[in-house]
Symmetry: C2
Subunit: 201 residues, 2 copies
């Protein structure tokens, strides 16, 4: 099945290709299908934004589109940066600046209040308007200085519950097995076949 | 009555002197009473932090101490920057950088979701451990570009409900009449006399 992945983030494309490698899905990028429009991610929730992106890509391409919206929900920041995770330090979408800012904001927050979760909403939308959206979570805590070179975003300061390493210290396949995005898209994959099957009336 | 004001923020000292001008309270600064220790504001709430500061100042000075912890609670940021308002853009406590960062984080947030409130917790603590803490709120919305030269912090982007001007476009006395800090400290003032009166047994 040919599916458009509604993201321009190459890290996400790579992750999704790995996560969906065992499924009968041919992942096309927005560039592959010639979609150039940018979607303003103005939703209040991850699910809102994932649907916004998938709907726009399905409408523009005429294909089934999948999208995710993901972020870090920090307990001591009342669930923020959340949907603003990539813009946290400003519009420049600077991973290093975002991570540095979170560490400064959390500087006085004691160890017992450093809980956080990576959250991913994965959406699939057909050109005729059928939709499904699912959420995956990875619970953990935030450390005080970055560790590890893998992954991206806030991975270097996030230690999943029951782990000693940050998600930036894990091999990509190890991270996929427990990650918010891995959980959400593995749950979404079997729904894709249902979505493209003709509706029974 | 001599009272120590547990803050090193000159803007707050000035506001409090105005707000309490009609009460029989002689406000001393931390410098006036020779307190040099800094309190780590590690509380999860405005009330926690106001009490932390007032307790430390009462213990160090042997006088009744009052303190506030205040901030901007933005709906679209789940109530943040909240207790982190002064540190929002980093540890430099840079008002202009904090304001700029909030505007960038809120850039895609539509007008109908730009609600916010200034919140102040005002605490009074006696050297023998009697405590009172009260909250004042000022509800409003956030505009998209700063206006006005009065006030400080986030005042230039905050328009109180029912007003056309930002709190930075109001005369100090006008702002005091509706502000979170004005409300909290006017409520606290009559409690001060009760606090220093000997307990009836």
């Amino acid at each position: 099945m040919r599916v458009v992945l509604a993201t321009r983030n190459q890290h996400k494309v790579d992750e999704l290709r790995r996560i969906l490698a065992t499924y009968d899905v041919e992942l096309l990028s927005l560039d592959d299908v010639g979609v150039t429009d940018e979607v303003v991610e103005s939703g209040a929730t991850f699910a809102d934004n994932a649907l916004l992106k998938a709907r726009a890509a399905a409408a523009a391409s005429g294909l089934v589109a999948i999208a995710d919206d993901s972020g870090l929900a920090i307990d001591a920041l009342n669930g923020m940066p959340g949907v603003l995770s990539v813009y946290w330090a400003g519009r420049a979408r600077d991973d290093a600046a975002n991570l540095r800012l979170v560490l400064e904001q959390m500087e006085d927050v004691p160890d017992e209040r450093r809980g956080a979760a990576f959250v991913c909403a994965a959406a699939a939308v057909t050109p005729d308007g059928r939709e499904v959206v699912l959420e995956g979570r990875c619970e953990g805590t935030l450390i005080r200085a970055p560790r590890g070179e893998q992954g991206f975003g806030y991975d270097p300061i996030f230690v999943p519950t029951g782990e000693g390493r940050t998600t930036a210290e894990m091999a990509p396949e190890e991270k996929d097995a427990i990650s918010h995005r891995g959980k959400a898209f593995r749950a979404l994959a079997p729904k894709l076949a249902e979505l493209v099957r003709p509706r029974s009336s």
